[in-house]
């Protein structure tokens, strides 16, 4: 519902009657304005791309010091770094760990955030304000205070070095914001739909699952994306809690290439590129929904 709304606003700002007016204003910008716009966006895109492009370029140079004289890489393009990383490191173990943790966080996190978001969007119950406040405040919890007690708790429960530990922890950071975001999104879905569902004999859960969730797909996509990148990008807990190097996530695994004494930048670059691929794919799948989903959450605040 909100998707169409927004696309309408961005595509044609006004009905035909007002078209000449818009056209004149557009004319006022003139070629110089357009050039400036394109120039600005192009420069910004270049800056956004540069580090990633540079990484891809370096990953093709065979020596670990190639980054110091990048000109030489041009003459000796090779995929040897990639084959080394794939064959002689624990890359696939890391890949598996990361995917398990990220998928777990995404599935559990989005589901839990959706029910919470729906509850705070549709219902006013005692404790509502406090819940919203806590959701916001959990964003502020610094890892420094949590990491030690969590370590104790998880080691007592025998959960250190397990995927569950990371999934649960990632959920605690990702869910509050996702719930907040989804609340905003649910708010944009007309309440009449819920009422219609109730009139037709659905329970609130039924309304939620059958009517609201399908309508909220763009919002869910954004929440999923947010959960996914939070889980993939989490460094502190993964570094502290995963001890067995076959269970490292990428965030930890990548650090093993760079120690105090030796930095194998070429392998690191190749691994980084390989990591960026699945994430970029996921990103590409959800990117159309990103603006819509974030807006709803953002405007609602």
């Amino acid at each position: 519902m909100s998707t169409t709304t927004l696309e309408k606003t961005q595509a044609t700002p006004a009905p035909a009657a007002r078209a000449p007016r818009r056209a004149r204003r557009r004319g006022e910008r003139g070629p110089l304005g357009a050039a400036l716009l394109h120039g600005g966006l192009a420069v910004a895109s270049l800056i956004a791309l540069a580090p990633v492009a540079w990484l891809i370029f370096l990953s093709l140079g065979p020596e670990k010091d190639d980054y110091l004289h990048p000109g030489k890489i041009l003459g000796k393009f090779t995929f040897s770094n990639y084959s080394f990383v794939l064959q002689h490191t624990a890359f696939f173990d890391w890949f598996k760990s990361t995917m398990i943790v990220a998928a777990g966080t995404t599935l559990i996190g989005v589901f839990v955030a959706a029910t919470t978001g729906y509850a705070v969007s549709r219902m006013r119950f005692p404790g509502y304000k406090q819940l919203m406040w806590v959701l916001l405040l959990t964003q502020a919890f610094p890892i420094a205070i949590l990491v030690v007690p969590m370590y104790e708790i998880f080691s007592e429960l025998g959960l250190i070095d397990t995927y569950w530990a990371l999934i649960v922890i990632n959920c605690t950071t990702a869910v509050p914001y996702s719930a907040w975001l989804l609340k905003g999104y649910f708010d944009t879905i007309p309440f009449e739909i819920d009422e219609a569902g109730r009139v037709d004999g659905l329970s609130p859960f039924g309304t939620f699952f059958r009517l609201i969730l399908p309508l909220a797909r763009p919002g869910l996509a954004v929440a999923a994306f947010y959960n996914f990148i939070t889980a993939v990008g989490e460094v502190a807990f993964a570094t502290t809690f995963m001890l067995d190097d076959s269970k490292y996530t990428f965030a930890v695994g990548l650090q093993t290439f760079v120690s105090q004494h030796d930095a194998q930048w070429n392998y690191m670059a190749a691994t980084a590129v390989l990591i960026a691929i699945p994430v970029s794919v996921f990103f590409y799948l959800v990117q159309k929904n990103l603006v819509t989903g974030l807006t709803a959450g953002g405007t609602k605040g």
């Binding site: 709304t5 969590m150 760079v258 953002g298």
Partner: protein
């Protein structure tokens, strides 16, 4: 219909449509609460167990002298019980007023505040600028958007390593500066440049989120407002000042608050850019606290947690004031 209008219906839900009788309403109400509590239960339980309990436990740790030598631990098959003592508020006294307090706490505190303000200001202004540009009608808008969101899509730890390579002594950036006959700072060694680099990298990582959120906000502003303003002869600047900015207010207040909280607690960028032990002067409070608790031997759990409590109090106080300020200006949609 725009999002803004929907929002208005949302906040009017108290007096919706014709309602059934009183008894029915109470029964409905109870039923509603029941479902509401069932739906928020998972989050409340998980937050209570995984965040609430560690928080209390962490707070207790700050009142002790726990470190890795006297905490409960298992070496091989032997389990050694904890032997740390309760020492009251000594940790806080030591951190805030002790002989090393300036070097260890206040200098990091000042830098953290500066870091937060600088980063969020840059995020917001650059993000807003790009969002305004992307909101113009022009060819290739989607293409630019996909490119500009890239820094957000690629995991932070990947791009931070890429920056580290580019910022290295004779890395790409310095080679470019050399070619332009400009001075080549020691990005990763010199304190000033370390801080400069950290802000730069964090800005690069944080702009896409701001840009997308603000772009969404811009798109939800009613375009007739602009036309009305134009009819009244408002200049571009006046339209921006009196239509765009007020229209963005609720998005802005949210993203700025989140930005401040996230930046204040930004761990990964500084931790990875300088390595676990490097650049003591460029560490913000979070990474410094992590260093105290996990980066040194013996690990000082108590002090690390005390830093955490201090950080959390700073943010809580700040958030409360911010909320109050928003409420007074009627900008909060909660």
């Amino acid at each position: 219909m725009t999002v803004a209008i929907d929002r208005a219906t949302g906040s009017r839900r108290g007096d919706r449509a014709p309602r059934p009788g009183l008894g029915q309403r109470i029964r409905n109400g109870l039923q509603k609460y029941w479902y509401a509590y069932a739906m928020i239960a998972p989050v409340v339980i998980v937050l209570g167990v995984i965040v609430g309990y560690p928080l209390l436990r962490g707070f207790y740790l700050t009142l002790t002298d726990a470190n890795s030598l006297n905490s409960a631990r298992t070496i091989g098959v032997n389990h050694i019980a904890a032997t740390y003592r309760f020492i009251g508020l000594d940790n806080y006294k030591d951190i805030l007023f002790g002989p090393l307090s300036y070097d260890r706490f206040w200098s990091h505190f000042l830098w953290t505040v500066f870091w937060t303000v600088a980063c969020v200001a840059l995020h917001y202004t650059i993000g807003l600028g790009l969002a305004l540009m992307l909101n113009e009608k022009l060819r290739g808008r989607t293409f630019y958007r996909v490119l500009l969101v890239l820094p957000w899509a690629v995991p932070t730890f990947v791009t931070v390593f890429s920056w580290r390579i580019m910022l290295a002594d004779s890395g790409a950036l310095n080679q470019i500066l050399h070619a332009l006959h400009l001075p080549q700072p020691q990005w990763l060694e010199d304190t000033f440049w370390q801080r400069f680099a950290a802000i730069m990298v964090n800005t690069w990582c944080g702009v896409p989120f701001m840009m997308l959120s603000l772009l969404g906000g811009l798109q939800s502003i009613d375009s007739t407002l602009y036309e009305a303003a134009e009819m009244d002869g408002a200049s571009a600047w006046q339209r921006f000042r009196h239509v765009t900015l007020p229209g963005l207010r609720s998005v802005s207040s949210t993203v700025v608050l989140l930005g401040i909280i996230w930046t204040f607690n930004q761990f990964a960028i500084i931790f990875l850019l300088f390595g676990p032990t490097g650049a003591p002067d460029a560490q913000i409070l979070v990474t410094w606290a992590y260093y105290l608790g996990f980066g040194q031997q013996p690990r000082d759990f108590a002090q690390s947690a005390a830093y955490g409590v201090l950080l959390l109090s700073v943010l809580t106080v700040f958030t409360s004031f911010y909320f109050r300020w928003l409420k007074r200006n009627d900008q909060l949609a909660v």
